[in-house]
């Protein structure tokens, strides 16, 4: 590029490189977003704490594998009690525990998902609210929209930033538990079962990430103060759970069976996860007596209803966010 001038008449040097069509711009937005959010120690703390769940899950798998070898012996009693408390089912009457391995592993993962629900609320409250709100506050949007970045690219980039953090406390630990548990104890059964379980975990994890991510970026796009977003997110989570509890108590159980799961997001997610894992069929195949169950093995609610509600929340949130982002992109020059 430089010719053999000894002294340039002007100091600015031009660049003869190429600009790509930028299909991966959204990924760059994700990388920066993740890097910036990960700088905060509370975020890192939550990720690490979420990862500790792996130890818990692997501990459960180990206990189950140990129990299989100790069936019928007196040492098994402690383990039977442990399983009963943790998974809500008494398997002391079962002769061949190996046949239930797949089902019990799924129970462990469901328990993990239950716990991770709370973790997701905290993680989203920590890493989510600022994604768009901080850009609004810093008036950084003109920088994005003066470049060949479309509102859709921006939206997807921000959405995936939150998805990454949620995945770090749900999907990743679950897959890690599955791998580590399989390595330690031989897995949930055949290779086929392993792959199916891995697939189910992936789908359910991604689904949760996508829904929670969409809701929080929609909230983040509404204001430049991240604290309001945090408050709104926590309010949505808590109020919906509370509303569900009220409805459940107020209405007779039989009449609105199908609708009960539809209000709270948490319960919708659990209903869908159980459906995805095929828990109903698995329990029916296991044919355990009803006294073996400490608590109801399945959540109440219809998966179809849950899917519709979650899809509605997601689509609504994304549309709202998109509308906001398009509005911001248009007034970028004098924002």
């Amino acid at each position: 590029m430089t010719t053999a001038h000894t002294v340039q008449s002007c100091r600015y040097s031009r660049w003869d490189g190429q600009l790509s069509r930028s299909r991966w711009t959204w990924l760059m937005i994700v990388c920066i977003g993740v890097r910036l959010a990960a700088k905060r120690s509370r975020t890192r703390g939550l990720v690490i704490a979420g990862g500790l769940l792996v130890l818990g899950s692997c501990g459960m798998f180990y206990a189950l594998s140990l129990l299989e070898t100790l069936v019928g012996t007196s040492q098994a009693r402690g383990l039977y009690d442990f399983i009963r408390v943790m998974l809500g089912v008494d398997v002391s009457g079962v002769a061949r525990l190996e046949e239930l391995r797949g089902l019990l592993w799924r129970c462990v993962f469901l328990l993990a998902v239950h716990i991770q629900m709370f973790w997701v609320v905290l993680m989203v409250a920590q890493a989510g609210p600022g994604v768009i709100a901080n850009d609004l506050k810093a008036r950084a949007l003109p920088i994005y929209f003066a470049k060949p970045v479309t509102p859709l690219t921006y939206l997807v980039g921000k959405w995936m930033t939150v998805v990454v953090f949620i995945a770090m406390v749900t999907l990743i630990p679950n897959l890690a538990s599955l791998l580590l548990g399989t390595w330690m104890t031989g897995g949930p059964g055949t290779w086929g079962e392993f792959l199916v379980l891995a697939g189910d975990l992936l789908v359910s994890g991604l689904g949760l990430c996508v829904v929670a991510g969409a809701i929080v970026i929609a909230l983040s796009s509404l204001t430049s103060d991240r604290r309001y977003v945090t408050g709104a997110w926590l309010a949505i989570c808590v109020l919906l759970v509370a509303a569900q509890a009220v409805v459940r108590d107020a209405l007779p159980a039989d009449s609105v069976r199908g609708f009960l799961g539809c209000i709270s997001l948490k319960d919708n997610v659990l209903v869908l996860t159980e459906w995805l894992f095929g828990m109903r069929e698995a329990w029916e195949t296991a044919a355990l007596p009803s006294e073996a169950f400490i608590r109801a093995p399945l959540s109440e609610g219809s998966p179809g209803c849950a899917a519709v509600v979650l899809a509605g929340w997601t689509v609504g949130a994304l549309l709202l966010c998109y509308r906001q982002v398009v509005r911001f992109s248009r007034s970028a020059a004098n924002v």
């Binding site: 100091r11 490189g17 790509s20 810093a138 003109p142 970028a332 020059a333």
Partner: protein, 306 residues
């Protein structure tokens, strides 16, 4: 080939018309965009960048249609916004690299080019510090760097010397002139008329959503043939008499200053003769020149009372 072209460009938001039938053609070079607040300058920039669609009319930037080739336009145009548009948490170098990658540069290209433009705007060690800690002048230069990182052919600068002290302004204006010499076209929007006078070759004056006037700075600043302002020390009355004897008309006089009109072109020596005869010391002999301020106020005036 003109860098900016508009034909009957109209932009309205509901009942408010921000741009009403703007037609302009801007040649390559450094051009100033002036106008009172609310004249439509920001709207024009938004429409040209394709950020908001024009209500009617056509336009092209660097030969690319503003309605259909928005992404390509933004690859070839750099924009330096007026406000502090920092991404919180990034260092100077991180910010410029990010801007490069958003424009479509590869990782390596963005890194190398970001450092190059930061050298150009003289942000040395400071580039590794968080951008929030920068002074006003440094922030402006950082914004210029992010506009330059992908080597645009056209730069849109919105109040580039905002909040800078006099030395900072000189530096920024020198950078802009240098960019002009490098072959980059610049559209400079500013309220500071002396800045525009110093670096721009042409100006566009907008008001009330319309283009009111365009003009070249050089032709505007051509010295008047016969109107002069004098600065002197000595006996004013005697000096004025000697001038009058030579048919030099004294239009106005104040202590130490005179506004005169020469009888003809090239007769400045009459002033010197009068000064020598009156034993007055001539400190200054200034031909009247239009200032950009006159041109601007004139254009606005013509709009308000046509």
């Amino acid at each position: 080939m003109s860098v900016l072209n508009c034909h009957n460009l109209v932009k309205s938001y509901g009942r408010i018309t921000a741009l009403s039938s703007v037609t302009l053609a801007v040649e390559p070079g450094v051009v100033g965009l002036l106008g009172p607040n609310g004249a439509g300058k920001s709207t024009l920039i938004s429409v040209l960048l394709g950020q908001t669609p024009a209500t009617s009319g056509e336009g092209s930037v660097l030969g690319l249609d503003i309605r259909r080739r928005q992404r390509q336009i933004r690859r070839q145009v750099g924009f330096m916004p007026e406000n502090d548009c920092l991404i919180p948490g990034l260092s100077g170098i991180g910010y410029v690299r990010y801007a490069g990658r958003l424009a479509g540069m590869t990782h390596g290209d963005a890194m190398q080019r970001a450092h190059e433009v930061l050298d150009y705007v003289d942000l040395d060690e400071a580039r590794y510090r968080p951008a929030e800690e920068y002074s006003a002048g440094m922030k402006q230069r950082l914004k210029l760097a992010q506009a330059l990182v992908h080597d645009p052919d056209l730069l849109l600068l919105d109040e580039p010397t905002n909040g800078m002290d006099p030395q900072g302004r000189q530096t920024m204006l020198a950078l802009i002139s240098d960019l002009g010499r490098a072959g980059i076209s610049v559209l400079l929007s500013s309220h500071l008329l002396p800045d525009v006078e110093r670096v721009c070759a042409r100006v566009l004056i907008m008001g009330g959503g319309e283009l009111l006037a365009t003009g070249g700075i050089a032709e505007m600043k051509r010295p008047h043939a016969t109107l002069y302002r004098l600065e002197y020390s000595g006996d004013g009355a005697v000096f004025r008499r000697r001038l009058a004897e030579r048919n030099v008309a004294v239009l106005e006089h104040r202590d130490g200053q005179l506004n005169i009109e020469l009888p003809g072109e090239g007769t400045q020596r009459l002033v010197l003769e009068a000064a020598c005869e009156a034993e007055a010391q001539l400190h200054g002999l200034h031909p009247k020149r239009s200032s950009l301020e006159d041109m601007f106020m004139g254009a606005i005036q013509r709009q308000t009372d046509p």
